[in-house]
C-alpha cells in the first residue's frame, strides 16, 4: 500500500531531526499566522492563483529565500564537518549523511537558489523593461512557478522522510544506479530535477516568446536593454539544454525502475554516455546562471555611472558568442576520462575562446565607469566585489581548461574554489546587486542601505577567507567531498580557516535577512518618494510608478533609443502621450497550483514506488491540463476610464506626499 515507505524512514540522527523540527514548526507557525490574521482569502486571490508576473516574481523570491536557508545550512554543516573530522575524530556526521548533505547542497543551490532567483528577477523586470503589460503565456508562467515550488517542496520533504541522494549533485552512474544506490535517494533527486526541469523549460519558452514578440513599438532587437538580451540568450540555452537533462534523467530512471541498461556497468550499459549527456546539459546550464548576472550588472553599472553602457554592440555580440560556445565545451568537465589528446585539445581551445567575450564584457563595464560619475551605492559595491572575484575565478578557469594542468587539479578543492568563485563571486553577488537595485521598483521602498553595506563586507571578507585557502588545499592534494582525512595531510589548519570564513558569510547573510525584515518593517521611513525612479534610471521600468500598477504601463511606450528614459530626460525623445485605452488582464486561475500539487504527489509517489498514488497524481495533472486547455482564455477588462482614474489618483497621491 505504501510502497517502500516504512516507519524507519522517519527516523533520523539528532542534527537532521533538529532541521526537520524547525522546518515543521516554521510551516505550522506560518499557517497559524495566516489563520490568525484571517488572510487566507487575500492569499488565495492576490497571490496563489495569480498570473501576474510581478506577483509570481515575488513568490519565486520567497521560495528562493527558504531554499537558500536550507542550502546554506547544508554548506555550514559541510564546513563544520571538515573542520572537525581530522585523524581519529569522526566529526558529527556519518559518511552517508555527509554525502547526502553535499548532494543536497549542490542541487538546492543550483536549481532552487540560482535558477529560482533568476526567474524571480526575470518575472519582475523583463516585462517592464520591454514595455509589455504581461508575458506571452501568463498561465504557463504560473504553471512553471508551481512546478518549481513543487520540486522545492520535494527537496524539503526529502529532509524529513527517507534519505537524499548520496551520489553528488550530478549523480554519475554507476554510483547512482540500483547496484550501488538501491535506496530512495537517487529517486528523490531524479524526480526533483524532472519536475523543476519541466518548469524551467516551460519558463524558457515563455520568456523567449515574450522577448521576441512583446517588445513595445520602436524597440528593435538592437535597442533592447542588455539585461533582456542576457535573458534572451539564457532562455535559448534553456530551450536547447533542458530537454537533454529531462531525457538523461528519464533514461536513468528507466535503468532504476525497469532494470534497463543505459548507464549500468554491466549488461551493455555505458556510464560515459551519461557523463557526456549530463554535461551537454550542464555546461549550458552554467551559462544560464551567469548570463543573467552579466545582464544585471550591465544595467547597474551605467545607471550608477550616469553614463550609457560602453560598447553596447560588443556586449550583445559577446553574449551571443558565449551562448554559442557554451554548447561546444562540455568535455572540459572530464578531460581525465582518457580521451585522446586531439579531443582534449579541441575542447580546451573552445573553452579558452569563451574567455575572450567574457573579458570584453569586463573591460566594457570598466570603461562604462571611465569619465562617469560613479555612485557607490550598495549595488555598485557588489559589482566592485564581483569584478575582483570574477577575474580571479576566470583566471583559474583558464588554468582548469588546460588539460595537463586539469589532470592535477580536477576534482580537487581547487575546482571547488573556482566554481564557487563563479557561483558566489560571480552569480550571487550580481543577483544581490540586482535585488537591491530593483527592490524599490517592485515594493516602493528601499532596502536598508547601512545594513546592506555591513552584509556586503561580511560577504566579501568571508568569501575570500572561505574560498581562497581552497585553492591551496587543492594543490595539497585535497579532493572534494571528503568527510574525513588524516592528520598527516596537514590540511586541518586551512580547513579551520575556511570554516571561519563560512561563519563570517553566515553573519553577512543573517544581516541581509534581518535587513530585509527591518526594511519591510520600517518601509514608511525607507519609502521611495521619487514616484518610481529613485536611481535616475535609464530604462522603461523606471518610467512607471513603484510598485507598478497591475497593467504595468497605462500607455504602451514607443521608444527610439537603447535607454528610452534617459533619452526623454535629456530631451532627445518626446515624453509619453496620455491617451488611455482599455486593458485586458488575464483572470486568476488556480490550475497552475493544482498541477504543481499533483506533480508533487506524483514525484513523491514515484520515489517511494507507491504506484496507485503516482497514477492519481498523473491523472490529476492530465485532468487539470485538459480543463485548462479546453477553457477560453478569460480576461478581466479595465476600461480606459478606470485606467485614467487610477493614474490620476496616483498622481494626486504623489502630490499629497
Amino acid at each position: 500500500m505504501l510502497g517502500r515507505l516504512t516507519l524507519e524512514d522517519f527516523k533520523h540522527d539528532f542534527v537532521q531531526n533538529g532541521a526537520v523540527a524547525s522546518m515543521v514548526l516554521g510551516g505550522v507557525g506560518l499557517i497559524a499566522l495566516i489563520f490568525y490574521l484571517k488572510r487566507w482569502k487575500w492569499l488565495w486571490n492576490e497571490w496563489l492563483t495569480t498570473t501576474d508576473p510581478k506577483r509570481i516574481g515575488i513568490m519565486y523570491i520567497v521560495v528562493v529565500l527558504i531554499m537558500f536557508m536550507k542550502g546554506f545550512g547544508d554548506a555550514m554543516m559541510l564546513r563544520a564537518q571538515q573542520a572537525m573530522a581530522v585523524g581519529d575524530s569522526q566529526g558529527f556526521l556519518t559518511a552517508g549523511h555527509f554525502q547526502e548533505v553535499f548532494s543536497a547542497h549542490g542541487t538546492t543551490m543550483i536549481f532552487f537558489v540560482g535558477m529560482g532567483f533568476i526567474f524571480g528577477l526575470v518575472n519582475l523586470i523583463v516585462p517592464l523593461q520591454i514595455g509589455a503589460r504581461d508575458v506571452a503565456f501568463p498561465f504557463l508562467n504560473a504553471l512553471a512557478f508551481w512546478l518549481f515550488t513543487a520540486a522545492s517542496m520535494l527537496v524539503l520533504i526529502s529532509l524529513a522522510i527517507g534519505k537524499f541522494s548520496t551520489a553528488g549533485w550530478l549523480a554519475y552512474p554507476p554510483l547512482s544506479e540500483l547496484e550501488y544506490s538501491p535506496g530512495e535517494g537517487v529517486d528523490y533527486w531524479i524526480w526533483i530535477l524532472q519536475i523543476a526541469g519541466v518548469g524551467t523549460t516551460i519558463s524558457g519558452i515563455n520568456f523567449l516568446v515574450t522577448i521576441l514578440k512583446m517588445r513595445c513599438p520602436g524597440m528593435t532587437l538592437m535597442k533592447t536593454p542588455i539585461f533582456v538580451w542576457s535573458i534572451l540568450c539564457a532562455m535559448i540555452l534553456v530551450i536547447f539544454a533542458f530537454p537533454v537533462l529531462t531525457a538523461t534523467l528519464f533514461m536513468l530512471s528507466l535503468d532504476r525502475y525497469l532494470d534497463m541498461h543505459f548507464f549500468t556497468s554491466g549488461g551493455g550499459g555505458n556510464p560515459m554516455l551519461y557523463v557526456n549527456l549530463i554535461w551537454i546539459w550542464g555546461h549550458p546550464e552554467v551559462y544560464v546562471l551567469i548570463l543573467p548576472g552579466f545582464g544585471i550588472l550591465s544595467e547597474i553599472v551605467p545607471t550608477f555611472s550616469e553614463k550609457r553602457l560602453f560598447g553596447y554592440v560588443s556586449m550583445v555580440w559577446a553574449l551571443l558568442l558565449i551562448t554559442f560556445y557554451s554548447f561546444v565545451v562540455w568535455l572540459h568537465h572530464f578531460f581525465t576520462m582518457g580521451a585522446s589528446p586531439g579531443v582534449n585539445t579541441f575542447f580546451a581551445i573552445m573553452t579558452m575562446v569563451i574567455a575572450i567575450p567574457t573579458g570584453v564584457k569586463i573591460f566594457n563595464w570598466l570603461f562604462t565607469k571611465f569619465r562617469g560619475r560613479v555612485h557607490f551605492t550598495s549595488p555598485m559595491l557588489w559589482f566592485f566585489a564581483f569584478l575582483l572575484n570574477f577575474t580571479v575565478g576566470g583566471m583559474t578557469g583558464v588554468l582548469l581548461s588546460v588539460p595537463p594542468v586539469d589532470f592535477q587539479v580536477h576534482n580537487s578543492l581547487f575546482l571547488i574554489a573556482h566554481f564557487h568563485g563563479m557561483a558566489i563571486g560571480g552569480l550571487l553577488f550580481s543577483l544581490f546587486a540586482g535585488f537591491t537595485y530593483w527592490f524599490p521598483k517592485f515594493t516602493g521602498f528601499f532596502l536598508d542601505e547601512k545594513l546592506n553595506r555591513y552584509a556586503f563586507w561580511c560577504w566579501l571578507g568571508g568569501f575570500l577567507l572561505a574560498f581562497m585557502p581552497l585553492y591551496m588545499l587543492g594543490f595539497m592534494g585535497a579532493t572534494r567531498r571528503l568527510d574525513r582525512y588524516g592528520v598527516e595531510t596537514n590540511w586541518h589548519p586551512l580547513f579551520v580557516l575556511v570554516a571561519i570564513g563560512a561563519v563570517i558569510i553566515l553573519i553577512g547573510a543573517s544581516i541581509q535577512l534581518f535587513g530585509l525584515f527591518w526594511s519591510i518593517k520600517n518601509r514608511k521611513k525607507n519609502w521611495d518618494h521619487t514616484g518610481g525612479d529613485p536611481w535616475n534610471g535609464r530604462t522603461l521600468e523606471w518610467s512607471i510608478p513603484s510598485p507598478p500598477p497591475i497593467y504595468n504601463f497605462a500607455i504602451i511606450p514607443t521608444v527610439s533609443d537603447v535607454d528610452p528614459l534617459w533619452a526623454i530626460k535629456r530631451g532627445e525623445a518626446p515624453p509619453a502621450r496620455k491617451d488611455y485605452e482599455d486593458i485586458y488582464i488575464p483572470k486568476n486561475t488556480p490550475i497552475g497550483m493544482y498541477i504543481g500539487l499533483f506533480s508533487l504527489i506524483f514525484g513523491f509517489a514515484m520515489t517511494w514506488h507507491i504506484y496507485w498514488l503516482a497514477i492519481i497524481g498523473l491523472i490529476g495533472i492530465l485532468v487539470n491540463t485538459i480543463i485548462q486547455l479546453s477553457g477560453n482564455d478569460e480576461h478581466d477588462l479595465i476600461t480606459a476610464a478606470q485606467v485614467q482614474e487610477m493614474e490620476e489618483a496616483r498622481i494626486r497621491g504623489n502630490a499629497a506626499l
Binding site: M337, F376, H410
Partner: protein, 295 residues
C-alpha cells in the same frame, strides 16, 4: 590622499587591504606547508612539467588580470561622483580603438595559450610512454569498494592500498574499476585519470625522488570514499627488488576466488601483499562486465 574623509576612499582602502591580506597569504601558506603542497613541489617529471605549464599559463593570465585590478581601483577613485576634478563625458560610449584592443589582446593571449596547450596536451598525454633508458614497469590498478588493488603482471605479485616502485623508472599504469567510477591520482607524481569498470585507461608516471607519496581517489565512489587512499612508495632499485622477492616468498596467493573476497565492500583496509597465482586476473576483472548480466 588629502581627503581621507571620503567613503569611497575607505571602501577602496578596505578592499585593498583585504586583497593584500589574501595576496600575502598565498606565499606564506606555500612557505609554511611547503612539504605538503605536492602539486606545486612535485617529485616526478610529469608533475613537474604540469606544474611548470600551470605557472606559465598563470603568468600569461596575470597580464590581463593585473590591468583589470588596477583599472578597477583607479576608475573607482577617479570617477567617483563627488570628485571635484572628475571629468564627465556621458556620451563616451564607443571607441573603436579601445574595443579593438580588448577584443584583440585577449584573442592574442588565447591564441598563445591555445598553441601552448595544443603542444603540451600531446606532449603530456597520459597514454604516451615516457622516454627513458629503463624499461617501464607495468602496474595494473583496480579501484574497488573502497580500496585500491595493484597488480604487477611482470613480477606476478599484487598489493592492496600500497604501491612500491623504483625511482627514475617509468611506470605504466593500466587502470580499471570493479566498483563505481573513481579517479586514480598521485599528486606528487602527476595528473589523475578515471578508473571505470569494463574499461581500461592508461597513465604513465615517473618518480625522480625516493619517498612515500599520498595516492588518493578523486571521484566520489560511495560510503567509504574518504578513507580510500594509499601509499605510493618510490624506493631504490635494490629496495624494490627486495620487496618483490619478499612477496614472492609469501604464502598469500591471489586468484579469482580470493580476489572476489577482496572485492567485497570494506573500508580502511590495511596494506596487504599477495603472490599473484592467476596471471590473467586483470583481464578477467575487465571482462567481468562485458558479457550480458546473468540473472
Amino acid at each position: 590622499m588629502k581627503k581621507p574623509n571620503n567613503p569611497v576612499y575607505y571602501m577602496l582602502l578596505f578592499s585593498g587591504i583585504l586583497l593584500f591580506i589574501f595576496l600575502i597569504m598565498q606565499p606564506l601558506e606555500i612557505l609554511h606547508f611547503r612539504d605538503y603542497i605536492s602539486v606545486l613541489f612535485p617529485k616526478g617529471d610529469i608533475a613537474l612539467e604540469q606544474r611548470n605549464l600551470l605557472f606559465i599559463v598563470q603568468i600569461i593570465m596575470l597580464l590581463v588580470i593585473i590591468p583589470v585590478f588596477i583599472c578597477t581601483f583607479i576608475f573607482s577613485w577617479k570617477y567617483r561622483a563627488d570628485n571635484p576634478k572628475g571629468v564627465y563625458d556621458p556620451d563616451l560610449v564607443d571607441n573603436i580603438f579601445l574595443e579593438f584592443v580588448w577584443w584583440g589582446v585577449p584573442f592574442v593571449i588565447v591564441v598563445l595559450i591555445s598553441i601552448l596547450t595544443w603542444y603540451k596536451t600531446y606532449e603530456l598525454d597520459p597514454y604516451k610512454p615516457i622516454q627513458s633508458e629503463k624499461k617501464a614497469i607495468t602496474i595494473q590498478v583496480v579501484a574497488l569498494q573502497w580500496k585500491w588493488l595493484f597488480i604487477y603482471p611482470e613480477e606476478n605479485i599484487a598489493s592492496l592500498n600500497f604501491l612500491q616502485f623504483p625511482k627514475d623508472t617509468p611506470l605504466h599504469f593500466e587502470i580499471t574499476a570493479d566498483a563505481p567510477m573513481n579517479s586514480f591520482w598521485i599528486p606528487a607524481l602527476g595528473g589523475q585519470i578515471y578508473a571505470m569498470s569494463k574499461m581500461k585507461t592508461e597513465l604513465y608516471l615517473i618518480a625522480n625522488q625516493e619517498g612515500d607519496f599520498r595516492g588518493s581517489s578523486a571521484n566520489i565512489s560511495g560510503e567509504g570514499f574518504a578513507a580510500m587512499h594509499f601509499i605510493a612508495r618510490a624506493s631504490s632499485e635494490e629496495n624494490y627488488q627486495q620487496w618483490v622477492e619478499s612477496i614472492k616468498q609469501s604464502q598469500k596467493g591471489l586468484n579469482w576466488e580470493s580476489y572476489s573476497k577482496i572485492a567485497l565492500p570494506s573500508q580502511e583496509d590495511a596494506p596487504e601483499t599477495y603472490n599473484l597465482t592467476d596471471p590473467k586476473l586483470f583481464d578477467k576483472i575487465l571482462n567481468k562486465y562485458m558479457h550480458p548480466k546473468k540473472e
